[in-house]
């Protein structure tokens, strides 16, 4: 009897938790989509914020552009460095100790909370280097934040490459670089691009690191790297935090989520394609 009851309770637990998770996903997405749809329009997407207080009317074009630019800078700066590091550790590094040191450093950095990264960006980039609150400072800060993520994933993908095949390539007298470019990268490309896009999604949604380093309440579409920017997550924060306009906030949240999902879908599609081609 007791056994039957335990089993029943156990199953209830599993069912309930899964139901809760699914309900949460449904609720969150439904809530944003339904509410956001009401106040979204082409005009909202393509015009500048207006009204008093600023943002109560008008659109979010500068924030969309700003977020895209920030993501681009973050991805570009982080991926070049992270890929080089991953390639070095998995292909060139001869000593185990050095490898461990690199891993420890990367893990340390991965453990730094994003707000502390922002703090660093604020003090060092904005103040000490005098870059000011700008597209560049904020983009680089985001880059520091996503570096470990890209490095870890890229390294994992490179290491999973079949060692016997590598050795067959070296055995032909072919250099490491040629092997890397012609054999390894084509295989790992999808994984690496997926890692970068996923990291881009994080960067785009992150508000904490850019509050202090570049995001402002209002700015036109940035003309140069040193201009301050508007960004979707920060704009959303201001719209709600200051109680400026609920409708605009819903719409902004929807735009932000759609952008990030688009990025994630690209990344998932890439991962899938790799699996199909792979084996």
């Amino acid at each position: 009897m007791k056994k039957v009851r335990d089993n029943f309770l156990f199953r209830m637990w599993l069912m309930l938790s899964a139901l809760i998770v699914l309900a949460l996903v449904g609720f969150i997405i439904g809530y944003i989509v339904l509410n956001g749809m009401k106040s979204i329009s082409l005009d909202f997407l393509l015009s500048h914020p207006k009204g008093i207080p600023l943002g109560a009317e008008g659109g979010i074009l500068p924030a969309i552009v700003g977020s895209l630019l920030l993501t681009l800078i973050a991805c570009a700066s982080a991926s070049v460095l992270a890929l080089a590091t991953a390639v070095y550790v998995s292909f060139y590094c001869q000593s185990r100790q050095l490898e461990t040191v690199v891993h420890v450093i990367v893990q340390c950095m991965a453990g730094v909370p994003s707000i502390v990264v922002g703090l660093f960006g604020y003090t060092f980039l904005v103040a000490k280097l005098n870059l000011g609150r700008s597209l560049l400072s904020a983009g680089l800060t985001l880059g520091v934040m996503i570096f470990p993520f890209i490095e870890v994933r890229a390294e994992k993908s490179l290491r999973e490459f079949n060692r016997a095949i590598l050795q067959s390539s070296y055995a032909l007298g072919v250099s490491k670089v040629y092997t890397l470019l012609k054999l390894v990268l084509p295989q790992c490309k999808a994984d690496i691009v997926a890692a970068v896009t996923l990291a881009g999604g994080f960067a785009m949604g992150a508000a904490a690191p850019i509050i202090l380093t570049g995001a402002v309440i209002f700015a036109p579409i940035p003309r140069s790297l040193s201009s301050p920017v508007m960004a979707l997550p920060f704009h959303l924060y201001i719209l709600t935090g200051e109680g400026i306009s609920l409708e605009k906030a819903y719409a902004t949240a929807l735009v932000l989520m759609v952008l990030i999902f688009a990025i994630n879908i690209v990344s998932i599609a890439l991962t899938f394609r790799r699996k199909e081609v792979g084996r």
């Binding site: 938790s17 809530y31 060092f124 103040a127």
Partner: protein, 288 residues
């Protein structure tokens, strides 16, 4: 043909690697150094054991016990709420859901992980906090509980995916022999899969705790941000939200500024300690 290019490429990889490592080391040291300055003015113990935080008064009034407690409280509430749900869903996924459907559900869970924290904060403010205020009749809905619930939702995907991975592996290992014995699936899950995956559950807990403690925006929007001793239905303050809120006001180089760095360092050290505990726990569980 490729000789010159090879050499250039190799050198480039090396230089870029050195650059990135130097940058990372620099960032870490920088944070450390900016914090240590503060500890010259206020002793560490004092800083983490004092209860008052008021940057407008003298240096003695910069201490963060309440804020540390707030950070821990909110995160623990989140874990307590998220763990059973996360583990349950992971078990269900591992044992009952197969093929395409599983891929879809994992995708949906990843969607949760991809939602930016500001959006969570936004929903928390409009739904959770409002619910507390109107339905429960609390004077202020901004509370530890609101932050905890919100964080619980945010860390769920991490718990599920960490647990699910190892549970699935264990399931695949044991399912054939267990089915051969004619034992029901839920019995297998309960008696073998669940106990066998305690290590990954632990790992998931620590991962989630780390996430929760470092989370800024969502928490900041729903906890009220008052550096007072935290109570479940009262306001509180966490270290990340403290930094986010006050950094703009603190003049670079001032004591207040260094105090914020110092609290960032304390947060990082707390995360480190948690990870170390996990490391030793893992070791002990392995030894058993």
């Amino acid at each position: 043909m490729y000789r010159v290019f090879d050499r250039v490429f190799t050198q480039l990889v090396k230089i870029l690697t050195i650059c990135s490592l130097l940058t990372l080391v620099f960032v870490i040291i920088f944070i450390f150094k900016e914090s240590v300055v503060f500890f010259k003015a206020v002793p560490v113990l004092r800083f983490i054991s004092g209860r008052s935080w008021n940057p407008l008064l003298a240096a003695d009034n910069l201490s963060i016990l309440n804020i540390i407690l707030g950070t821990l409280y909110v995160s623990l509430v989140a874990i307590v709420l998220a763990l059973p749900i996360g583990v349950g869903s992971a078990l269900l996924l591992a044992g009952y859901v197969k093929g395409q459907l599983r891929v879809v559900i994992r995708g949906i869970i990843d969607v949760l992980a991809g939602i930016p924290s500001v959006v969570y904060g936004f929903i928390g403010l409009l739904v959770l906090v409002k619910f507390f205020e109107t339905t429960l009749g609390l004077s202020s809905g901004e509370s530890v509980l609101a932050g905890g619930i919100l964080l619980a939702v945010m860390v769920l995907p991490y718990i599920i995916s960490t647990c699910h991975e190892s549970m699935e592996k264990i399931y695949r290992e044991h399912a054939p022999s267990s089915q051969a014995l004619g034992v029901s699936r839920s019995y297998l899950l309960r008696k073998i899969i669940l106990p066998e995956s305690r290590r990954s559950i632990l790992a998931a807990t620590v991962l989630a705790l780390g996430r929760a403690m470092g989370e800024t925006m969502a928490v900041m929007m729903v906890i009220g941000n008052a550096p007072i001793p935290p109570r479940l239905f009262g306001k509180c303050q966490t270290i990340p939200s403290l930094i986010a809120l006050e950094m703009g006001m603190a003049e670079v180089g001032s004591l207040h500024y260094h105090a914020l760095f110092a609290s960032g360092l304390v947060l990082m050290l707390m995360l480190l300690v948690i990870n170390l505990i996990l490391y030793f726990l893992k070791k002990n569980i392995l030894l058993q």
